[in-house]
């Protein structure tokens, strides 16, 4: 319990450091917000007024205190582009990204671990080699390229080769533009739209996890207790699914937490290309518009997700592995 409390305190400290670093980076950059907001021909007093309104003429320490105070109260400033509070912009986008990310993470993990175990059981055979080549190639593919390739397949390819109607998957948005359904119909529409983005996100992640799971379980298979189990006559399938998997669970939880940043990063491009109204698309839009409050807000929110994921993984490890309970 004390260890968990200490871990929570460390996470908070880390979050404070991230928030400070984001502030520092934004202030190290050449020029400030006022230069972006006013037209080049504006009079000097107008520029000075805007600077005063934004609090940019205050000493750096005061600006920093105001930024930290705002973050603590959940106030991340206002978007330059729309004057909407940043927290509201991000609050709208977060559920979309969380849904996409969590579903992809679960699939990444399930598919990656099963493929890795399957390969370890069939090591050296052609199916193992084929999957190795496949996972190496997927792991090397940029998510935006894979997304574009799928868009090409389901638009250009679908019309070229005459895909059946059920296979004509929509490639843009959360729902169709004219869709007004509610309840189950809405859910079905969203799921149909989610197939391609979720596929891209989980395929790349699963490729990485499969490679790790294969190597890790091969290491475990060389251990003495596996030899003992084999000598007792336990079937190979049972050795893999019961003994090896149980011992591989702790490192896999760590891996799950470590793959959160990857899914987050992948979702930026995937949301951008499939036009999903999530955090990634919000961030890309803000970058294109130089909307710094939104960029900074999104950065610290992403960091918060990573910090929370790592803390949860630590808690899960304590729960999974009795040796860690001291």
């Amino acid at each position: 319990m004390r260890a968990l409390a200490q871990r929570a305190a460390e996470s908070l400290l880390l979050f404070w450091l991230v928030v400070s670093l984001t502030f520092l980076l934004a202030h190290l950059a050449p020029g400030d917000a006022a230069d972006l907001l006013v037209p080049p021909a504006a009079a000097a007093e107008d520029v000075a007024r805007i600077r005063r309104d934004l609090g940019l003429d205050a000493p750096l320490v005061e600006q920093y205190a105001r930024w930290i105070g705002g973050v603590l109260r959940g106030d991340l400033g206002e978007s330059f582009a729309t004057n909407e509070p940043v927290s509201r912009v991000l609050g709208r986008a977060l559920p979309v990204s969380l849904g996409l990310g969590l579903v992809s993470l679960a699939l990444t993990f399930a598919v990656g671990v099963s493929v890795g175990l399957f390969q370890a059981a069939r090591r050296g055979r052609w199916s193992d080699r084929l999957l190795t080549v496949g996972s190496l190639s997927l792991f090397a593919a940029p998510s935006y390229w894979l997304a574009l390739a799928l868009v090409a397949l389901f638009t250009y390819g679908a019309s070229q080769w005459g895909f059946p109607a059920w296979l004509r998957l929509p490639a843009f948005g959360l729902t169709g533009p004219a869709f007004t359904g509610r309840g189950l119909a809405w859910l079905g529409e969203v799921i149909r739209h989610a197939v391609l983005p979720v596929f891209v996100l989980s395929a790349i992640g699963a490729a990485g996890i499969a490679r790790y799971a294969r190597a890790a379980s091969l290491d475990l298979m060389r251990s003495e207790w596996v030899r003992t189990a084999a000598a007792k006559g336990v079937r190979e399938r049972d050795i893999v699914s019961r003994h090896v998997l149980a011992n591989a669970l702790s490192p896999l939880v760590v891996l799950l937490a470590l793959s959160v940043p990857g899914v987050v990063a992948g979702s930026v491009f995937v949301e951008g290309i499939f036009a999903w109204p999530g955090m990634g698309r919000t961030l890309l839009g803000a970058i294109a518009a130089r909307d710094y409050p939104v960029i900074m807000g999104a950065t610290i929110l992403y960091a918060a997700l990573v910090i929370v994921a790592n803390a949860l993984a630590d808690a899960a490890l304590v729960w999974l592995d009795p040796r860690r309970r001291t």
Partner: protein, 289 residues
């Protein structure tokens, strides 16, 4: 047994190194020798959006077709390979140099230096690297220099941790005490005796980092935050073909395949190097025991 034998590993490493060298050579020669100019926009109407393996109205043959301005996709791809390879290797080397410096100093001096450096590294690692890259790249003016700087600033943390741990373990070995007794100074000790023995993991991480750096560079270029047109890079070529993906998919898909092949080769090379060095470390540990 299941672990790839060393001949396996070296064969994979040799193949990927050879293929990367061939790619580098092609990138150097093909744009210089090609009969078409990869940057010039001539007769757009006669040459634009020619599909792969076809001739345009002037009888010019295009291996991978042409883009919307009638420029040859294959020759542009090879020109882009120069930038992508240079930025990938350069960015990874810069990040490693920074990581080695920070890791060596904090592993050697420990104390406040170490705590400060590790706090900074923890903080940077809490932000997903792509997000950090986007934040920095959007704050500064886009271009090759920014991309290199940003790759170094966001990529040093992992290597710093590796080198720090190695330096700490090497500095407790007896040859370091021996050198100290002989009166070797601090800096000389770190540079000549400790660091060379602590670089193995950093070399592997640098090799594996090249593929990652190429991917990140292409991502930035895709978003318009990296290499700026008219200079082609794989990322901005894919971006240029994005809205043609339905009518002329080869414009975006071809550079992506070059990118995947390159990153794949870099990763195979890095993995082979890691297995080899890991094997050596295990062997030397066994010797010591």
């Amino acid at each position: 047994m299941a672990r790839p034998t060393s001949s396996h590993v070296t064969r994979a490493a040799k193949w990927s190194l050879g293929a990367l060298a061939a790619l580098g050579l092609a990138a150097a020669l093909i744009p210089a020798l090609a009969t078409v100019d990869p940057l010039a926009i001539d007769d757009v109407l006669a040459a634009r959006l020619i599909p792969p393996l076809a001739r345009d109205a002037h009888g010019q043959w295009h291996a991978l077709g042409t883009d919307r301005f009638g420029r040859d996709v294959f020759v542009r791809m090879m020109l882009a390979a120069r930038i992508s390879l240079a930025v990938g290797i350069g960015g990874s080397l810069l990040a490693s140099a920074m990581g080695v410096a920070v890791g060596a100093l904090s592993g050697w001096w420990r104390g406040a230096t170490d705590r400060l450096a590790m706090a900074l590294s923890d903080t940077l690692q809490a932000i997903p690297r792509l997000i950090l890259l986007l934040l920095c790249a959007s704050l500064w003016r886009p271009g090759v220099t920014t991309v290199l700087a940003v790759l170094a600033l966001t990529g040093w943390m992992g290597i710093a941790r590796l080198v720090r741990a190695e330096v700490m373990s090497v500095s407790s070995r007896s040859f370091v005490d021996g050198a100290r007794v002989l009166g070797v100074g601090e800096w000389r000790m770190l540079a000549r005796h400790v660091l060379p023995n602590a670089l193995g993991p950093a070399i592997v991480a640098t090799t594996l980092g090249v593929g990652n750096a190429i991917l990140l560079e292409s991502g930035l270029a895709f978003l318009g935050l990296g290499v700026q047109p008219p200079s082609p890079s794989w990322g901005n070529m894919i971006a240029g073909g994005r809205d043609l993906i339905v009518s002329a998919p080869w414009v975006a898909l071809a550079p992506g395949m070059a990118l995947i092949a390159t990153v794949l080769l870099c990763n195979v090379l890095g993995d082979a190097l890691r297995d080899r060095l890991a094997g050596e470390t295990a062997a030397s540990l066994a010797d010591r025991a």
